[in-house]
């Protein structure tokens, strides 16, 4: 097995191009790869579609990308902790798709798992259902939510081994493991990079084969 190349955040950020769709791990910036986000801010890449649980916080997480005007569209479940997101939406400067959190997680997983979509009760009979296909199964209605796939995923790892096997500590996992399955290019900012055997092999939740580069 090949060891993963360990690159600097600016080298990683240079792989993003204008107009790309980018998954960003984290939940209210817990488990968000801040070094990678900072490097993307510095790179000036623009017109990004960002998929993240939320809009980050002012000056933190994807909030920095939004404030810097690099985001054309945000797909998230919650934007209430970053006023700039709502302001930009209301000013017509940024498009926002608000998606139920469990649906968002499952759409990303479906993208990574090669499924045709997600069938969920969540959102039936609400604004979320507008324009979406409804599939009736045994007499009950489910929304058909499309899979989400991306060009790049920015992942925050607590520990990765040199091959790229990655684990997450406590509540830092959130959207990270699913996102690591759903992008062409997976960039993993690791708090710690270790040799194999240091950690229980059963404690890694993202296998090496999903990771393209480790970022330090």
């Amino acid at each position: 097995m090949l060891k993963k190349e360990i690159i600097a955040p600016d080298q990683a950020a240079s792989m993003l191009k204008d107009g790309m769709t980018v998954l960003v791990g984290g939940f209210m910036v817990i488990g968000t790869p801040e070094k990678l986000v900072d490097a993307v801010v510095a790179s000036g890449v623009k017109d990004l579609t960002i998929v993240c649980n939320d809009a980050g916080l002012p000056g933190k997480g994807v909030g920095k990308l939004i404030e810097n005007g690099q985001v054309k569209k945000l797909i998230a479940s919650h934007i209430g902790l970053n006023r700039t997101a709502g302001d930009k939406m209301n000013a017509g400067e940024m498009e926002i798709d608000l998606v139920p959190q469990g649906t968002l997680a499952e759409q990303i997983r479906a993208g990574g798992a090669g499924l045709g979509g997600v069938l969920t009760r969540t959102g039936v009979g609400t604004l979320v259902a507008e324009g979406k296909q409804v599939v009736t199964i045994d007499g009950e209605d489910f929304l058909l939510e499309k899979p989400i796939k991306a060009d790049v995923a920015l992942i925050k790892s607590s520990v990765s081994d040199v091959y790229g096997n990655t684990k997450f500590n406590k509540t830092t996992a959130n959207f990270n493991p699913a996102m690591a399955t759903a992008a062409e290019l997976v960039l993993v900012q690791a708090d710690e990079i270790v040799e194999p055997g240091v950690h229980d092999v059963n404690s890694f939740s993202v296998p090496s084969v999903l990771v393209d580069y480790l970022v330090e």
């Binding site: 939940f27 910036v29 919650h78 934007i79 649906t103 997680a105 009760r121 406590k170």
Partner: protein, 217 residues
């Protein structure tokens, strides 16, 4: 006792031994304070854990251990952590025994509106839509009327819905009301009010059985 605590204490009585419960951020969080330890209720946080415990002492925060508001918490012995997909499998899959959430409006069909006021700054639904669609019991805790003194329990919700026919129980500072097939049933009134006052402050018909109990104090 404050209105918040009056409601929280009554909601806490709805939780059963060993239940897995998700409390919404904000007022519902206070329910935890009124659940006796011997009930061994387990709290879930949708960002990825079961076994949520109290806020840590200042200076002892672990930023890898937070709730769905991104705020540091502590964990009980036996707590477990997982990613968002498993977290919502628990929620959507009916593994969560009860969720407690606030509301802007509830109507006689048990429809719920609690995430959005058109033309106001939108926060987003977060995990609320999944919680009310998936949890075994949806308990709404809220003030009986809004800040303008207008009823929040209505014939039909006027705000965008969070989910259809999802509410199992409404607890306010005045009443405990249960949506049923027949309509909204007034189960209990608070110690400091009357059936008449509850009916007056409710924007839709309530079914009043003979034995309306009293709660609080």
């Amino acid at each position: 006792m404050s209105v918040k605590n009056l409601i929280a204490k009554r909601v806490a009585e709805e939780l059963n031994k060993g239940d897995l419960v998700n409390l919404g951020i904000g007022m519902p969080t206070s329910v935890a304070d009124f659940v006796p330890a011997e009930k061994h209720v387990v709290f879930q946080s949708e960002n990825g854990m079961v076994g949520l415990d109290a806020t840590p002492e200042e200076g002892k925060e672990d930023w890898d251990l937070t709730n769905a508001g991104g705020t540091p918490v502590t964990a009980v012995e036996g707590a477990a952590y997982f990613d968002s997909t498993l977290s919502f499998s628990l929620i959507r899959g009916g593994h969560v025994d009860a969720t407690v959430l606030g509301a802007m409006e509830v109507d006689r069909e048990g429809n719920l509106a609690n995430y959005m006021i058109p033309k106001k700054m939108v926060a987003g639904m977060g995990g609320a839509m999944d919680l009310v669609s998936g949890a075994k019991r949806v308990i709404i805790m809220m003030t009986h009327c809004n800040k303008n003194g207008e009823p929040k329990i209505l014939d039909a919700c006027t705000l965008p819905l969070t989910a259809l026919k999802c509410v199992d129980l409404i607890v306010t500072e005045l009443a405990v009301i249960e949506p049923t097939e027949e309509g909204l049933v007034l189960r209990e009134v608070a110690f400091n009010t009357s059936v008449e006052e509850v009916l007056k402050k409710t924007g839709t018909e309530l079914i009043v059985p003979e034995n309306v109990k009293v709660f609080g104090e």
